[in-house]
Amino acid sequence: MNKLVTKILKESGVDAKITRDNKRPKFRVKNGQLTLEGIVSASKYTMKITDTKGDVIDELSVSVKDGNDIVNRINESILTLNKLSPIYDNQIKLKEDEEFEEIPDVEPGDIKGALNAITVVRDNIMDLADNTDQILDYYDDEDVEDKQEITGFVAALYDLAIDMDEYKEDKIEELNAPKEESFKVKKSSKSASRIALEHITIAQASLKGQPGCESLYNALKDIKSELTVRGIK
């Protein structure tokens, strides 16, 4: 039995580990974050596919009549593993993207901690703005007014993120300034960055979904991200 299982797995082209047990050999195949474990005997085939946490994604325990049954069951399990693995990875990535970063706890009076918390909130608002931006996809091209509304929400969220960024930078400057010196911290201009971002967002919305404009759309998106992170002085 061990030789048969080894042969099947070798022909499948997978990197497998097989126990030397001749009556009930066990095998293990990994693909990405998923692991297929199977046990084969003359009358039964058992398998399960688990993720790194040990959660069972798929399992089967069936009778087998002959060698052909064993070949088919093992090959089907490997096919399932290979098909499931990228879909599972994608699912995990989507889940991570949906999760906002948790805002850290800060002790009262810890201004630097509060500023770090603001950075996390700012990042979350940026993610929220990106997610809101994707809502534009749900509208038809002729729904201009609705698209403008959504674009307005996106721009407002970016505005808020920039305000928080600027507040943080001003506050850091204030904290780092020598205490004996008294001067008014120069506030950076918000209007320029706001206006630029609003224009970019509107331009992006008009390019969205237009054939041949994908790279332009992505370039504007990158500019917007850079602008938001760095701010305009």
Binding site: V56, I57, L60, S63, R73, L84, I87
Partner: protein, 132 residues
Amino acid sequence: MMSIYSYSTYNNEPLKINPKLVEYYKDECDPYLVNLKRELTRSLVDYKLFQDLQEINNSYYKIISGLIDNTYTSLTELFNDSKTLTNNTNKFQKSCYGKIDGDIFDSIYHNCENILLTINKLTQTVKTVNLK
């Protein structure tokens, strides 16, 4: 008269059923489950579908292993688990609808129905044996 669904054995004894008979029904059902998995793998587009299929798996194996390991002490438990299998199967079929096209969907649907029919035959047999 006591409803059959509230029937339970004296002293919480396990339901009577010949394990070989359960194996017989399992062998009848397994090809449907294998076909179902094969068809879903062929046109796998959505991870959620596999999660829904796993729910069917869990409820199916719960019934089979419960009968083989003699853990059921009442028909109510068995029929509740059978109902869970039906609900999970319906949910899976609904999830597949619109995501999987034509012949493959038909095959998935057909195999799901056969699993339910076979498990229904099994539970009815257990009921008949235990009400005698």
